[in-house]
Assembly symmetry: C2
Homo-oligomer: 109 residues x 2
């Protein structure tokens, strides 16, 4: 076989989280939710320089990545950090970045 290796589950999970965080609007949404200024769609939208349809789409992506969750609180919608997955992401990123960082015997000095 030409390409023996594939990707590890951790690499894929980390990439999935990273990808979800890979847009300024989504980072802004996450920070807004972390700051607990509000959890309502309308307030999130007001904070961002994009149309509500686009905000809704970004929220959907964050939800599908598992970083947030949403529930209807008629007539509004409340979005929250998904604590369980948030902890997972925090840990995966922490492990990733403390992965020696780099060594003394680095082939790159």
């Amino acid at each position: 076989m030409e390409h023996p290796k594939s990707y590890t589950h951790k690499q894929e999970q980390l990439a999935r989280f990273a990808k979800a965080m890979g847009h300024p609007a989504r980072m802004a949404i996450l920070q807004f939710l972390l700051a607990q200024e509000s959890c309502y769609f309308g307030d999130i939208h007001e904070e961002l320089p994009i149309a509500k349809a686009t905000v809704s789409q970004h929220l959907k992506e964050l939800k599908e990545a598992g970083l947030i969750q949403g529930e209807i609180e008629a007539p509004k919608v409340r979005y929250c950090i998904n604590k369980e997955n948030w902890e997972l992401a925090r840990k995966l990123f922490a492990d990733f970045f403390s992965q020696t960082g780099y060594r003394k015997e680095n082939c790159c000095q």
Copy 2:
């Protein structure tokens, strides 16, 4: 004005790093470099299930995001973690994830 706010510099920088990490192949490359198994393109390529042209492209993206750097060591090419930016990324992600995480007075419990 309809949309008063934009994104902060930190949000954009974090998103840029996250985006670069948002693909399993690129995560695999970073981990390979961190593990210091080798820094040569050929060895990186062997580790991945994709064509060399594609590997080269992913390396270019990581380089443009500032996470790695490359130098010619004829006839090979050596890629390395960009230490300065790596530290920056580490710090930005650490700060981001320790951003209270979430509060007791969370509007989402």
